[in-house]
Point group: C2
Chain length 138, copies 2
Amino acid sequence: MTEQNLRGILAEHGLKATSQRLKILDYLATNHTHPTAEMIHKDLPMISLATVYNTLEHLVKSGLVITIDQLDDGKHHYDYYGEPHYHIINPETNEIIDANNFDMRPLFEAAREITGWNISGYHIEVYGHPQDNKKDEA
Amino acid sequence: MTEQNLRGILAEHGLKATSQRLKILDYLATNHTHPTAEMIHKDLPMISLATVYNTLEHLVKSGLVITIDQLDDGKHHYDYYGEPHYHIINPETNEIIDANNFDMRPLFEAAREITGWNISGYHIEVYGHPQDNKKDEA
DNA sequence: TCTCCAATTTAGAATTGTTCCAAATACAGT
DNA sequence: ACTGTATTTGGAACAATTCTAAATTGGAGA
Protein backbone atom coordinates (compact mmCIF):
# COMPACT_ATOMS: atom_id res chain seq x y z
CA MET A 1 0.00 0.00 0.00
CA THR A 2 1.28 3.53 -0.70
CA GLU A 3 2.44 5.76 2.11
CA GLN A 4 -0.24 8.29 1.17
CA ASN A 5 -2.94 5.64 1.55
CA LEU A 6 -1.57 4.63 4.92
CA ARG A 7 -1.37 8.22 6.12
CA GLY A 8 -4.95 8.73 4.98
CA ILE A 9 -6.16 5.68 6.84
CA LEU A 10 -4.41 6.71 10.05
CA ALA A 11 -5.76 10.26 9.73
CA GLU A 12 -9.32 9.03 9.19
CA HIS A 13 -9.03 7.18 12.45
CA GLY A 14 -7.50 10.08 14.33
CA LEU A 15 -4.05 8.55 14.67
CA LYS A 16 -0.80 10.45 14.29
CA ALA A 17 1.29 9.10 11.41
CA THR A 18 4.55 7.99 12.98
CA SER A 19 7.02 5.94 11.00
CA GLN A 20 6.41 3.01 13.33
CA ARG A 21 2.66 3.09 12.77
CA LEU A 22 3.07 3.35 9.03
CA LYS A 23 5.35 0.31 9.01
CA ILE A 24 3.15 -1.81 11.25
CA LEU A 25 -0.06 -0.92 9.45
CA ASP A 26 1.56 -1.60 6.09
CA TYR A 27 2.85 -4.91 7.39
CA LEU A 28 -0.58 -6.00 8.57
CA ALA A 29 -2.42 -4.75 5.48
CA THR A 30 0.02 -6.50 3.18
CA ASN A 31 0.68 -9.81 4.91
CA HIS A 32 -2.58 -11.40 5.96
CA THR A 33 -0.71 -13.76 8.17
CA HIS A 34 -2.42 -13.08 11.52
CA PRO A 35 0.84 -12.51 13.39
CA THR A 36 1.51 -12.09 17.10
CA ALA A 37 3.19 -8.98 18.51
CA GLU A 38 6.38 -11.01 18.76
CA MET A 39 6.23 -12.00 15.08
CA ILE A 40 5.73 -8.40 14.00
CA HIS A 41 8.69 -7.35 16.09
CA LYS A 42 10.81 -10.09 14.57
CA ASP A 43 9.97 -8.87 11.06
CA LEU A 44 10.30 -5.19 11.95
CA PRO A 45 13.22 -5.31 14.38
CA MET A 46 13.85 -1.57 14.21
CA ILE A 47 10.60 -1.08 16.15
CA SER A 48 10.76 -1.83 19.85
CA LEU A 49 8.50 -4.49 21.25
CA ALA A 50 6.91 -1.93 23.57
CA THR A 51 5.97 0.18 20.56
CA VAL A 52 4.59 -2.83 18.73
CA TYR A 53 2.24 -3.50 21.64
CA ASN A 54 1.47 0.17 22.00
CA THR A 55 0.66 0.62 18.32
CA LEU A 56 -1.44 -2.53 18.15
CA GLU A 57 -3.47 -1.25 21.05
CA HIS A 58 -4.20 1.97 19.16
CA LEU A 59 -5.01 0.13 15.94
CA VAL A 60 -7.38 -2.23 17.74
CA LYS A 61 -9.08 0.58 19.63
CA SER A 62 -9.66 2.43 16.38
CA GLY A 63 -11.16 -0.64 14.74
CA LEU A 64 -8.51 -0.90 12.03
CA VAL A 65 -7.21 -4.17 13.44
CA ILE A 66 -8.85 -6.95 15.41
CA THR A 67 -7.46 -9.70 17.60
CA ILE A 68 -7.86 -13.43 17.17
CA ASP A 69 -7.52 -15.14 20.53
CA GLN A 70 -8.59 -18.71 19.94
CA LEU A 71 -5.36 -20.25 18.71
CA ASP A 72 -4.48 -22.08 21.93
CA ASP A 73 -0.95 -20.72 21.94
CA GLY A 74 -1.88 -18.21 24.61
CA LYS A 75 -0.92 -15.25 22.44
CA HIS A 76 -2.95 -12.56 20.77
CA HIS A 77 -2.93 -12.68 16.98
CA TYR A 78 -3.66 -9.53 14.99
CA ASP A 79 -5.58 -9.10 11.78
CA TYR A 80 -6.02 -6.06 9.55
CA TYR A 81 -9.75 -5.40 9.43
CA GLY A 82 -9.97 -2.94 6.55
CA GLU A 83 -12.85 -5.00 5.22
CA PRO A 84 -14.90 -6.82 7.87
CA HIS A 85 -14.72 -10.58 7.43
CA TYR A 86 -14.98 -13.80 9.36
CA HIS A 87 -12.46 -16.55 10.07
CA ILE A 88 -12.52 -20.21 9.26
CA ILE A 89 -10.05 -22.01 11.54
CA ASN A 90 -8.65 -25.51 11.50
CA PRO A 91 -7.83 -26.03 15.18
CA GLU A 92 -5.55 -28.96 14.40
CA THR A 93 -3.16 -26.83 12.40
CA ASN A 94 -4.14 -23.30 13.46
CA GLU A 95 -4.66 -22.45 9.81
CA ILE A 96 -6.86 -19.35 9.47
CA ILE A 97 -8.77 -18.49 6.32
CA ASP A 98 -10.35 -15.07 5.84
CA ALA A 99 -13.81 -15.13 4.27
CA ASN A 100 -16.54 -12.62 3.61
CA ASN A 101 -19.17 -14.51 1.62
CA PHE A 102 -21.86 -14.07 4.20
CA ASP A 103 -24.24 -11.23 4.93
CA MET A 104 -24.09 -10.43 8.64
CA ARG A 105 -27.13 -8.15 8.70
CA PRO A 106 -29.59 -10.87 9.75
CA LEU A 107 -27.30 -11.66 12.70
CA PHE A 108 -27.22 -7.98 13.62
CA GLU A 109 -31.00 -7.89 13.42
CA ALA A 110 -31.28 -10.94 15.67
CA ALA A 111 -28.96 -9.35 18.23
CA ARG A 112 -30.91 -6.13 18.07
CA GLU A 113 -34.15 -8.00 18.64
CA ILE A 114 -32.86 -9.40 21.90
CA THR A 115 -31.12 -6.35 23.32
CA GLY A 116 -32.57 -3.33 21.55
CA TRP A 117 -28.96 -2.14 21.23
CA ASN A 118 -27.21 -0.57 18.31
CA ILE A 119 -25.00 -3.31 16.92
CA SER A 120 -21.65 -2.06 15.70
CA GLY A 121 -19.49 -5.04 14.81
CA TYR A 122 -18.73 -8.69 15.15
CA HIS A 123 -16.01 -11.26 15.52
CA ILE A 124 -16.78 -14.66 14.06
CA GLU A 125 -14.71 -17.80 14.10
CA VAL A 126 -16.00 -20.94 12.44
CA TYR A 127 -14.19 -24.21 13.15
CA GLY A 128 -13.70 -27.10 10.80
CA HIS A 129 -11.22 -29.41 9.21
CA PRO A 130 -10.57 -30.99 5.85
CA GLN A 131 -12.37 -34.27 5.30
CA ASP A 132 -10.30 -37.42 5.56
CA ASN A 133 -11.73 -38.88 2.38
CA LYS A 134 -13.92 -37.97 -0.55
CA LYS A 135 -16.81 -40.30 0.17
CA ASP A 136 -19.48 -37.61 0.25
CA GLU A 137 -18.56 -36.17 -3.12
CA ALA A 138 -20.40 -39.00 -4.83
CA MET B 1 -28.13 -29.95 37.92
CA THR B 2 -28.18 -33.41 39.53
CA GLU B 3 -24.97 -35.28 40.15
CA GLN B 4 -26.19 -38.08 37.88
CA ASN B 5 -26.66 -35.61 35.03
CA LEU B 6 -23.21 -34.22 35.56
CA ARG B 7 -21.64 -37.68 35.69
CA GLY B 8 -23.45 -38.55 32.49
CA ILE B 9 -22.21 -35.43 30.73
CA LEU B 10 -18.62 -36.06 31.79
CA ALA B 11 -18.84 -39.71 30.73
CA GLU B 12 -20.26 -38.80 27.33
CA HIS B 13 -17.22 -36.64 26.80
CA GLY B 14 -14.77 -39.26 28.03
CA LEU B 15 -13.86 -37.43 31.23
CA LYS B 16 -13.34 -39.12 34.59
CA ALA B 17 -15.84 -37.89 37.18
CA THR B 18 -13.73 -36.40 39.95
CA SER B 19 -15.33 -34.37 42.70
CA GLN B 20 -13.49 -31.30 41.42
CA ARG B 21 -14.82 -31.69 37.90
CA LEU B 22 -18.34 -32.25 39.13
CA LYS B 23 -18.21 -29.07 41.19
CA ILE B 24 -16.72 -26.93 38.45
CA LEU B 25 -19.06 -28.21 35.75
CA ASP B 26 -22.05 -27.70 38.03
CA TYR B 27 -20.85 -24.21 38.82
CA LEU B 28 -20.55 -23.29 35.15
CA ALA B 29 -23.80 -24.92 34.11
CA THR B 30 -25.70 -23.19 36.91
CA ASN B 31 -24.20 -19.71 36.96
CA HIS B 32 -24.06 -18.27 33.46
CA THR B 33 -21.77 -15.58 34.68
CA HIS B 34 -18.78 -16.10 32.32
CA PRO B 35 -16.22 -16.27 35.12
CA THR B 36 -12.44 -16.31 34.99
CA ALA B 37 -10.41 -19.14 36.52
CA GLU B 38 -9.70 -16.87 39.48
CA MET B 39 -13.41 -16.22 40.04
CA ILE B 40 -14.18 -19.93 39.99
CA HIS B 41 -11.41 -20.57 42.48
CA LYS B 42 -12.74 -17.83 44.72
CA ASP B 43 -16.21 -19.41 44.74
CA LEU B 44 -14.89 -22.97 45.07
CA PRO B 45 -11.92 -22.41 47.38
CA MET B 46 -11.56 -26.09 48.22
CA ILE B 47 -10.32 -26.65 44.67
CA SER B 48 -6.76 -25.56 43.99
CA LEU B 49 -6.16 -22.96 41.32
CA ALA B 50 -3.97 -25.41 39.39
CA THR B 51 -6.87 -27.84 39.27
CA VAL B 52 -9.25 -25.13 38.15
CA TYR B 53 -7.00 -24.38 35.19
CA ASN B 54 -6.44 -28.07 34.57
CA THR B 55 -10.14 -28.89 34.61
CA LEU B 56 -11.07 -25.95 32.42
CA GLU B 57 -8.55 -27.13 29.85
CA HIS B 58 -10.22 -30.54 29.75
CA LEU B 59 -13.70 -29.05 29.56
CA VAL B 60 -12.71 -26.72 26.73
CA LYS B 61 -10.95 -29.48 24.80
CA SER B 62 -14.06 -31.64 25.07
CA GLY B 63 -16.27 -28.83 23.78
CA LEU B 64 -18.36 -28.61 26.96
CA VAL B 65 -17.05 -25.15 27.74
CA ILE B 66 -15.77 -22.34 25.55
CA THR B 67 -13.61 -19.33 26.28
CA ILE B 68 -14.48 -15.69 25.77
CA ASP B 69 -11.31 -13.67 25.28
CA GLN B 70 -12.45 -10.26 24.12
CA LEU B 71 -13.11 -8.58 27.44
CA ASP B 72 -9.97 -6.42 27.49
CA ASP B 73 -9.11 -7.47 31.02
CA GLY B 74 -6.45 -9.82 29.70
CA LYS B 75 -8.08 -12.86 31.26
CA HIS B 76 -9.85 -15.86 29.82
CA HIS B 77 -13.54 -16.07 30.65
CA TYR B 78 -15.33 -19.41 30.56
CA ASP B 79 -18.80 -20.27 29.40
CA TYR B 80 -20.77 -23.52 29.62
CA TYR B 81 -21.60 -24.45 26.06
CA GLY B 82 -24.21 -27.16 26.65
CA GLU B 83 -26.31 -25.43 24.03
CA PRO B 84 -24.37 -23.56 21.35
CA HIS B 85 -25.14 -19.87 21.40
CA TYR B 86 -23.65 -16.52 20.49
CA HIS B 87 -22.66 -13.54 22.61
CA ILE B 88 -23.78 -9.96 22.49
CA ILE B 89 -21.19 -7.81 24.27
CA ASN B 90 -21.25 -4.22 25.39
CA PRO B 91 -17.55 -3.35 25.36
CA GLU B 92 -18.09 -0.30 27.53
CA THR B 93 -19.35 -2.35 30.45
CA ASN B 94 -18.20 -5.88 29.53
CA GLU B 95 -21.78 -7.04 29.87
CA ILE B 96 -22.29 -10.33 28.01
CA ILE B 97 -25.69 -11.57 26.89
CA ASP B 98 -26.18 -15.14 25.68
CA ALA B 99 -28.47 -15.49 22.67
CA ASN B 100 -29.48 -18.26 20.31
CA ASN B 101 -32.15 -16.72 18.09
CA PHE B 102 -30.19 -17.21 14.92
CA ASP B 103 -29.76 -20.18 12.61
CA MET B 104 -26.06 -20.70 11.99
CA ARG B 105 -26.47 -23.23 9.19
CA PRO B 106 -26.22 -20.66 6.37
CA LEU B 107 -22.93 -19.49 7.88
CA PHE B 108 -21.69 -23.08 8.00
CA GLU B 109 -22.71 -23.50 4.37
CA ALA B 110 -20.84 -20.34 3.40
CA ALA B 111 -17.70 -21.55 5.21
CA ARG B 112 -17.99 -24.94 3.58
CA GLU B 113 -18.30 -23.33 0.16
CA ILE B 114 -14.98 -21.60 0.59
CA THR B 115 -12.96 -24.38 2.18
CA GLY B 116 -14.73 -27.63 1.38
CA TRP B 117 -14.16 -28.52 5.04
CA ASN B 118 -16.49 -30.13 7.48
CA ILE B 119 -17.61 -27.30 9.74
CA SER B 120 -17.98 -28.33 13.36
CA GLY B 121 -18.64 -25.26 15.45
CA TYR B 122 -18.43 -21.53 15.89
CA HIS B 123 -17.69 -18.73 18.29
CA ILE B 124 -19.53 -15.51 17.63
CA GLU B 125 -19.33 -12.22 19.43
CA VAL B 126 -21.49 -9.31 18.35
CA TYR B 127 -20.70 -5.87 19.73
CA GLY B 128 -23.11 -3.13 20.54
CA HIS B 129 -24.35 -0.71 23.13
CA PRO B 130 -27.64 0.67 24.38
CA GLN B 131 -28.85 3.74 22.54
CA ASP B 132 -28.53 7.06 24.27
CA ASN B 133 -32.05 8.12 23.36
CA LYS B 134 -35.23 6.75 21.86
CA LYS B 135 -35.32 8.87 18.74
CA ASP B 136 -35.54 5.98 16.29
CA GLU B 137 -38.50 4.36 17.95
CA ALA B 138 -40.78 6.83 16.20
C1' DT C 1 -15.94 -55.76 47.16
C1' DC C 2 -10.89 -55.40 46.60
C1' DT C 3 -6.83 -54.25 44.14
C1' DC C 4 -4.15 -51.73 41.19
C1' DC C 5 -2.51 -48.21 38.26
C1' DA C 6 -3.10 -44.62 35.16
C1' DA C 7 -5.23 -40.32 35.63
C1' DT C 8 -5.89 -36.50 38.57
C1' DT C 9 -4.89 -33.19 42.18
C1' DT C 10 -1.95 -30.11 44.63
C1' DA C 11 1.23 -26.16 46.48
C1' DG C 12 4.44 -23.55 45.12
C1' DA C 13 7.98 -22.42 41.83
C1' DA C 14 8.77 -21.02 37.22
C1' DT C 15 7.58 -19.10 32.96
C1' DT C 16 6.27 -15.65 29.77
C1' DG C 17 3.16 -12.57 27.36
C1' DT C 18 2.15 -8.04 28.30
C1' DT C 19 2.28 -3.61 30.75
C1' DC C 20 4.59 0.00 33.11
C1' DC C 21 8.16 3.58 33.73
C1' DA C 22 10.44 7.88 33.05
C1' DA C 23 13.59 9.87 29.86
C1' DA C 24 14.36 10.96 24.92
C1' DT C 25 12.33 11.87 20.52
C1' DA C 26 9.28 13.24 16.77
C1' DC C 27 4.93 14.75 14.75
C1' DA C 28 1.90 18.56 13.30
C1' DG C 29 -0.11 23.06 13.83
C1' DT C 30 1.25 27.76 14.06
C1' DA D 1 11.60 26.79 12.26
C1' DC D 2 9.34 26.53 17.05
C1' DT D 3 6.60 24.44 20.49
C1' DG D 4 3.77 21.46 23.05
C1' DT D 5 2.02 17.12 23.24
C1' DA D 6 1.90 12.47 21.78
C1' DT D 7 4.88 8.78 20.88
C1' DT D 8 8.80 5.79 21.35
C1' DT D 9 12.11 3.18 23.94
C1' DG D 10 14.86 -0.46 26.89
C1' DG D 11 14.41 -2.54 30.74
C1' DA D 12 12.13 -3.50 34.93
C1' DA D 13 7.82 -5.13 36.77
C1' DC D 14 3.64 -7.61 36.77
C1' DA D 15 0.28 -11.19 36.64
C1' DA D 16 -2.07 -14.87 34.28
C1' DT D 17 -0.99 -19.32 33.36
C1' DT D 18 1.86 -23.50 33.17
C1' DC D 19 5.01 -26.65 35.16
C1' DT D 20 6.83 -30.00 38.60
C1' DA D 21 7.03 -33.99 41.13
C1' DA D 22 4.92 -36.06 45.00
C1' DA D 23 0.41 -37.61 46.97
C1' DT D 24 -4.17 -39.07 45.99
C1' DT D 25 -8.11 -41.16 43.74
C1' DG D 26 -11.57 -43.08 40.42
C1' DG D 27 -13.05 -46.98 38.23
C1' DA D 28 -12.10 -51.20 35.38
C1' DG D 29 -11.34 -55.80 36.12
C1' DA D 30 -10.68 -59.87 39.13
